[in-house]
Amino acid sequence: MTATLRTEGISKSFGGVQALDDCSLTAPAGKISALIGPNGSGKTTLFNVMTGYEKADSGQVFLGDGRITGAPPPRVYALGVGRTFQLTRIFPRLTVLENMLVPAQRGRSARQHREHAMDLLAFTGIAGHAAALAGTLSYGQRKLLELSYVLVADPAVVLLDEPAGGVNPTLVQHIAERIGELNKAGRTFLIVEHNMDFVMSLCHQVTVLDSGTVVASGPPEQVRSDPRVLDAYLGVGTDGDD
């Protein structure tokens, strides 16, 4: 199951602040795309618009051929778009397994749902904590739990907001491997991330956002040497080495 997620001319302002300005980007089906840009450039706002948490002032969001502009979050999830949050958001007073059972399920019995949940926990490597309260997990384990439960309903597209933020290098590597494996099975990813090694090694395509506008988009090597990107994101005078 896979699909292309696309925005067309999204604009969004908060009071006098123009967070997104005519923003168009495409996360092609079956690819891992990155969305990078300086803090405050509108990456998370774009995620919020795509997943129904914010309403755009203008512009459209498409999943495959279908228009999903303005659909509320439960509907967006049901259509096959899962997302994680920048600061991980789990259900601290539910057990890890209960967290996995929250996502809506169709066509699976309670037992199948449970087995599927345990398979996913084994896949991300936290099955040993299934019975623990999610609030007792470490930050890195919470990141894995969030990744796990977003996958429960087999979404075609997964949006990850800083999956490598604030976790140790071993775990970053572990998360990158998991994403790579899921992508091989056909899943589309759109990832907001500041860790450039992570982005450059994992992603097929990079889109750069600055002040709510797309300034560059293309394969990682090309984007990395784009002068507008160096100026906006990596800072003038940076020689762009890895």
């Binding site: 049901a78 958001r89 789990i90 209960e98 084994a122 894995l144």
Partner: protein, 352 residues
């Protein structure tokens, strides 16, 4: 079946048996009077917990549903001129009336969260109380009498006792079923992080509203039994702000969001209050005491007696196990907090 399930099951059966024979053993009308009111509060505290305890939306307006049920029974019993036994058949209808009222209230109040939600439920409470004092259908501020049965004094309380017992037991069973169900899981997910739950496909509004309506239905039935038992519906007692504080205290005292907590809270606190009112000439002393208890619970037992007690118990058990462990053999601690405790396996079937 595990040994624990058997022990719990037989314990519950024993409790139920004690409850069933209680009015036959304690025939003193004061005792059965206390028991009827206590059972009404067991039902109400559990019903409040099904909505507020599971969803985290703290309602201080449940007296609206209690009062709706109470006035429905009072007005209907008078208008339809029902016989004594038949009035009990109004109880489920009174619950329905409260459930119907809960729909528009929920659709308005459940749009906001936390403190704003609490304030709105309080506003609803005062609207209801003022309406009852000023409308002719409710008899205005002087209230209305409920036609009373002419049963013998010694066993007068018994029918009320058994009706209240059935409602209380049914509510506890319902709370247990909700706690275990997918519906209950969605409620608890909403309590922890409503926006996150929405992003995982949980339609929060229908789930919250269903819980509120269910809770209102039971609360309305309890209010109807209570008003029939006391014999009169007067606005300031039917819509009583202390009612809301009492059930909230019961749930917090026993353990918010647990099935047994609110039951324990009602079983301990309601008889205590009735007894204090009886013993003390100053009827406010119980209210002052309850206010102080509320502070103690919120400050020292914010999760309630049962969860905190269970925590101490498991700590004690762990300590005993460590003591018993042979020297040199260190007790195994769960590796919480260790990012390294990750053991990946191959991709699950669904992802391949």
């Amino acid at each position: 079946m595990t040994k624990q399930t058997v022990a719990q099951g037989s314990g519950l059966l024993l409790l139920l048996a004690v409850a069933a024979v209680f009015p036959l053993v304690f025939t003193n009308p004061t005792a059965t009077n206390f028991a009827v009111v206590t059972l009404v509060f067991v039902a109400v505290a559990s019903a409040w917990n099904i909505f507020s305890g599971f969803s985290g939306y703290l309602s201080l307006g449940h007296a609206v549903f209690y009062g709706t049920g109470a006035y429905f029974l009072t007005v209907a019993a008078n208008d339809w001129k029902l016989s004594a036994g038949a009035i009990f058949w109004l109880v489920p209808l009174a619950g329905l009336a409260a459930a119907v009222i809960a729909v528009p209230l929920g659709l308005v109040a459940l749009r906001v969260r936390r403190h704003t939600f609490v304030v709105i439920t309080i506003a609803f409470f005062f609207i209801a109380q003022l309406s009852a004092s000023n409308l002719s259908v409710t008899g205005g501020s002087s209230g209305m009498l409920v036609p009373q049965p002419n049963w013998a004094g010694a066993t007068f309380n018994n029918p009320f006792y058994y009706v209240a017992l059935v409602i209380a037991v049914a509510t506890i069973v319902l709370a247990w079923l909700v706690r275990r169900s997918r519906f209950g899981l969605q409620l608890r997910a909403i309590r922890d992080d409503e926006d996150r739950a929405a992003g995982l496909g949980v339609r929060a509004m229908p789930v919250k509203l269903a819980a509120l309506v269910l809770s209102a239905f039971i609360t309305g039935m309890a209010g109807a039994v209570w008003v029939y038992f006391t014999g009169e519906a007067v606005p300031q007692f039917v819509f009583d702000p202390l009612f809301d504080l009492a059930i909230v205290l019961m749930a917090f005292f026993g353990g918010l969001g647990t099935v047994a907590g609110p039951v324990l809270g009602a079983l301990v606190l309601q008889p205590a209050q009735l007894w204090l009112n009886l013993e003390e000439t100053n009827s406010y002393s119980s209210e002052i005491l309850f206010g102080a208890l509320f502070l103690v619970v919120i400050l020292f037992l914010p999760r309630g007696v049962l969860p905190t007690g269970a925590e101490y118990l498991s700590k004690a058990q762990a300590w005993i196990r460590r003591r018993r462990a042979a020297p040199g053999e260190t007790a195994r601690e769960p590796a919480a907090g260790a990012d390294d405790a990750i053991t990946p396996t191959s991709a699950p079937g669904g992802a391949a």
